[in-house]
């Protein structure tokens, strides 16, 4: 580990991985709750158009990606609220439109080609600069404050929108903010895991946490733990094994998911005890029924 931290690029990479490990599952929990697990992928493809636009305009691709993917996410949210049935069609349009837009714009950019996009598609964690890190850290703080600070409100909106409206919550505003937050998360994460695998970090840690978590709050926290472990572990692993970071991180997350699934199947008693101690405050009431942790559908 010492040798690892001697390199500035590795210190940057590990910090970037840590930040992404926190934000991606924190936002992803709400998307999975609303059964929009693939939304991150749609945003990721739209972000590609933003990256290409950055090359074309000769500005930082990160900021054009933030802007374009936020527009895409807001557009998707508007389509979702207007006409429920068109949701997956809207997603398909974003996926292909984003990919085609990216390919088209990059061919127009002077001195760039589709090869320029590879680092964004698959991630290039070793090229994260100090300035990148500062921007990522700032965005991470905003995303985390939103996701954890408004947990009850966002939970209610994602769980039962009709009910949330009748509580007087600004449901539409919260939905749009969540869409923009997801877009920001995707662009923060693209340097680390790449746009093609971004959605995996928003979904797999949540799926893993669900193996042993019984409450929403615990699943969200556990998902962040799984996200951080797989991002940092995957980055260290990719350094030692000379593998690309993005796929290594995602495989690490899958391995944690498999491990937790086995744990949940083999030791339900142990799993319950753990989540019990992590649940909030006064939850020491005896459980009326000792059931196995619920399988997700």
């Amino acid at each position: 580990m010492n040798g690892l931290l001697d390199h500035a690029f590795m210190r940057h990479a590990l910090l970037a991985a840590l930040l992404v490990g926190i934000v991606a599952p924190a936002v992803g929990t709400y998307l999975v709750q609303r059964r929009q697990a693939i939304m991150g992928d749609g945003i990721g493809h739209v972000a590609l158009t933003g990256v290409a636009l950055g090359f074309l305009l000769r500005t930082s691709p990160v900021w054009t990606a933030v802007a374009v993917s936020a527009l895409g996410a807001v557009g998707m949210e508007l389509i979702r609220t207007r006409r429920r049935a068109g949701g997956d069609l809207a997603l398909a349009l974003l996926l292909y439109g984003g990919m085609a837009g990216g390919g088209l714009l990059i061919s127009l950019a002077p001195g760039a080609s589709t090869a320029s996009l590879t680092g964004y598609l698959w991630g290039s964690i070793l090229t994260v600069s100090h300035a990148d890190l500062v921007a990522m850290a700032a965005l991470t703080v905003l995303v985390a404050a939103f996701c954890f600070g408004l947990r009850r409100q966002l939970f209610a909106v994602c769980q039962d929108e009709a009910f949330a409206r009748v509580t007087g919550l600004p449901v539409r505003t919260l939905n749009l903010l969540l869409a923009v937050t997801a877009a920001v998360t995707v662009t923060v994460s693209m340097r680390v895991v790449g746009l093609l695998l971004v959605s995996a970090l928003m979904v797999i840690p949540v799926a893993a946490a669900q193996r042993i978590g019984r409450s929403f709050a615990v699943v969200q926290l556990l998902a962040v733990v799984v996200g951080v472990l797989s991002c940092v572990g995957g980055t260290v692993g990719s350094y030692h094994l000379d593998l690309p970071s993005g796929p290594t991180i995602v495989v690490a997350a899958m391995a944690l998911l498999a491990g937790l699934a086995v744990l949940a199947a083999v030791r339900p008693v142990l799993a319950r005890a753990r989540t019990g101690t992590m649940a909030q405050g006064e939850s020491v009431r005896p459980r009326a029924h000792n059931r196995e942790p619920q399988e997700t559908r």
Partner: protein
């Protein structure tokens, strides 16, 4: 507190997809009154509830919640709503308590959840007989129990007007009786209750008035 009528609907017309669903509904629910809205599938029962909450545009007529049209109504803490059953579970597990906690959002809004919020949730879960299941995941409960969680969520806000859309769906007879007792206690407290029902069942004794929307228009 002045005695404003919790829910008043006058000559309410609602179209859905260009088709008239409600054609001139008059409905009043006063304090302590339990009113049943009956009718076949497609007769507009759920539409009436959504119109009452301002979730659908009216083509004619007016709705007042405590004397205020829904669009300008802000005192949502006075209203409890049990949507038509479907949404007790989501893509991520949640405990009974977490779902019921959402019933306090009209009180704490964007501010943190407090001790008195927790006490109200405990009271509501107790009222529907699910306090001992508070830390269990909602999807480990039966359909009828999940329905009671949604009722507890509405009760947690200690509403003065309770709108319940088909609260008996998937609830067996024994649990319908538990629910009847809960509602009787609410009405005795002065809560105005509007129930959308397929059939009266064990709630018949409780109901002061009923309005039959008939079959589909």
């Amino acid at each position: 507190m002045c005695q404003v009528t919790p829910l008043a609907m006058r000559g309410v017309h609602v179209n859905r997809d260009g088709r008239p669903v409600l054609g001139g509904l008059d409905l009043t629910v006063r304090r302590g009154e339990v009113v049943a809205l009956l009718g076949g599938n497609g007769s507009g029962k759920s539409t009436a509830v959504q119109a009452a909450l301002g979730a659908l545009p009216l083509t004619a007529g007016r709705v007042e919640l405590f004397g205020t049209p829904p669009a300008r109504f802000r005192a949502w803490r006075r209203v409890g709503y049990v949507p038509q059953r479907s949404t007790a579970t989501g893509g991520v597990p949640a405990t009974v308590r977490e779902v019921a906690d959402a019933g306090r959002l009209a009180h704490h809004g964007l501010r943190p959840f407090r001790r008195d919020d927790a006490d109200s949730v405990d009271g509501a879960l107790d009222a529907v007989g699910l306090l001992d299941r508070a830390e269990d995941p909602v999807d480990s409960l039966s359909g009828g129990q999940q329905q009671r969680v949604l009722i507890a969520r509405a009760l947690a806000g200690r509403p003065e007007l309770l709108l319940m859309d088909e609260p008996l769906a998937a609830v067996d007879l024994a649990q319908q009786r538990v629910l009847a007792d809960t509602l009787a206690a609410e009405a005795a407290r002065g809560t105005a209750v509007l129930l959308v029902l397929h059939e009266l069942g064990p709630l018949a004794d409780l109901i002061d008035r009923s309005l039959d929307l008939g079959v589909a228009a």
